[in-house]
Symmetry: C2
Subunit: 379 residues, 2 copies
Amino acid sequence: MTSATRPYGTRERRRSIGSQGESRGGGEERTGPAASEGQEATAILERARAAVDPELRAAVDSLPRRMRRVARYHFGWEHADGTPAAENAGKAIRPALVLAAATALGGPAARAAAVRAAAAVELVHNFTLLHDDVMDRDTTRRHRATAWTVFGDADAILAGDALQARALGMLAEDPHPAAAAAAARLAACVVELCEGQGTDTALEKRAPAEVTLDEVLVMAEAKTGALIGCACAVGALYAGAAPEDVDALDAFGREAGLAFQLIDDVIGIWGDPGHTGKPAGADLAARKKSLPVAAALASGTPAAGELAELYARPHVPEDPDDLDRTALAVERAGGRAWAQDQAADRMSRAMDELARAIPDPESAGGLLSLAEFVTRRST
Amino acid sequence: MTSATRPYGTRERRRSIGSQGESRGGGEERTGPAASEGQEATAILERARAAVDPELRAAVDSLPRRMRRVARYHFGWEHADGTPAAENAGKAIRPALVLAAATALGGPAARAAAVRAAAAVELVHNFTLLHDDVMDRDTTRRHRATAWTVFGDADAILAGDALQARALGMLAEDPHPAAAAAAARLAACVVELCEGQGTDTALEKRAPAEVTLDEVLVMAEAKTGALIGCACAVGALYAGAAPEDVDALDAFGREAGLAFQLIDDVIGIWGDPGHTGKPAGADLAARKKSLPVAAALASGTPAAGELAELYARPHVPEDPDDLDRTALAVERAGGRAWAQDQAADRMSRAMDELARAIPDPESAGGLLSLAEFVTRRST
């Protein structure tokens, strides 16, 4: 905790963060303040998607044919055979955060000016997804075959390269006075994202006992927190915010992003495959050192030893109990509770940072809704 | 030919373009005007390398440890074990062209202002080399093992991604009034480079008879001409040149770049492995559809049929005559003569474009020397 002030009633909300796993099927999320916040966030996401989509599609459609096809497939706008599709293009949380930050600090004019930058942030996110899937040999993304499995490694790598170039290129073409600072920030963020992905790859190759919880946290901040922080900072830049407020927005996004990753990892173990696109237990089957697992392994409990033993040998798909035993070991070693507490703690820090830049909770509303939504999401 | 004017004595020089293959060992290049031009170009390259190196190293050293190590290895500054090295970092023709164009159009002040942009162009070039080597599974570059063979695909891809981000990021941080236009141009060039690489990969998968000479020319312009053109255009932008002069410099670089590629392909078949770092015949052994081969295949001569037959089956390393027979077929089908004529023609067009932007040959001197050097190079 970095501050004694707790604006926006954070403490009261704390126990609800990441509780979607328990409430699944119970319908609790449909009632009370959380439900209305979820509805507000959904509306914000939809409005952001509608604002950013034309810019995003124009950027992708400006690519030469070969890379355009890969990118349009990746975004879910086309099937593998090139026919039109309307598949899940992702939640577009990052562009929504750009626009929400611009609105919070600069009102509707700043929001309108930041649409191109919001699209650039989403292009960067998708460039990293294209490349990460190649490196990780992941075959499914958003319920669909990943681009490299359809078009081959070379075309997936090239489409990713081109999306990064378009993202930074469209900021270079943007006459807005904040565009250069936004481009510099986004480029620095790409370097951090690459470092996060590299560390992730390296950590996955090491034995579980040789990976510390701190290393996994640092990796997650670089891989996930950095771009969510950058999105908020870019929005602040387009609002003409003071440097310290831009940095506070970055810190807000980083903390909220880490909370998001913690909950994503919880969902990756216990979550709902119908909603997340990631089958429950997939991370455990791949013996991934996700945050709850790293915490469990570091707990010094008897269950930690059991988990280390399970992780020492590959997952046996024929043994239906293997994943249940592994998930139970993570839970008994405290990995799940730690992740939920840590997510709540990160959200609390995020709120502190947000309150620093935007003391008025009303103005911060959109950012608050999005941050709380992504840490309690079930879609 | 696009113009009747022939400034700078192009016609007289025409036959010497690409003639390095014949003169090898004869020492002709050490005498006469060509030799002094070569010395001038070498001096220009050395001066450019000295000016750009600190900026380049600072950019690479700003990367996090993992990617810094890959990039430092790739540039020849470190061995694979991380100990310092002073290996061949490439000729740095592109940054030299940035500086030469800035000097030609804006004098020493423009040259000094363009150093960062010159480094950015070189970073982009090296990002594409890192990625191309992964995609093409090439194992040797500049006489050394390629980065992916040493560090793995993931780290080589990530280092490339980070170099692109640093390149465009350092232009975003550059307060020079031309920086945004330069960044936009460089980003658009990256997209074209990716398209060129994608087309190359696709062409290599097709049967020789299904590849037209025009396709190979278009691919070579995108893959090689585009960045050399962009380098010249970026230099012109930093000199505050008028848009039509920036475009003329781009066209100059594209034409000279294609001439460079034609000669590079000639060297790839008949050239000197000690000098180029590419063993003679390597392109033929890989059955690569380089420009002379594409021209030979399209010639309709009996030798074209023979070449098509040789290319239809893989190279036999045990048969010492296989490469000689293949090279002879390309030559008898006119592939070598076509490439040399085409290179001379491209250089002639390059000179026209250059004369359009810079009518005074004295001012154009550096650009001329570099362009003629790269099309007659033996190093």
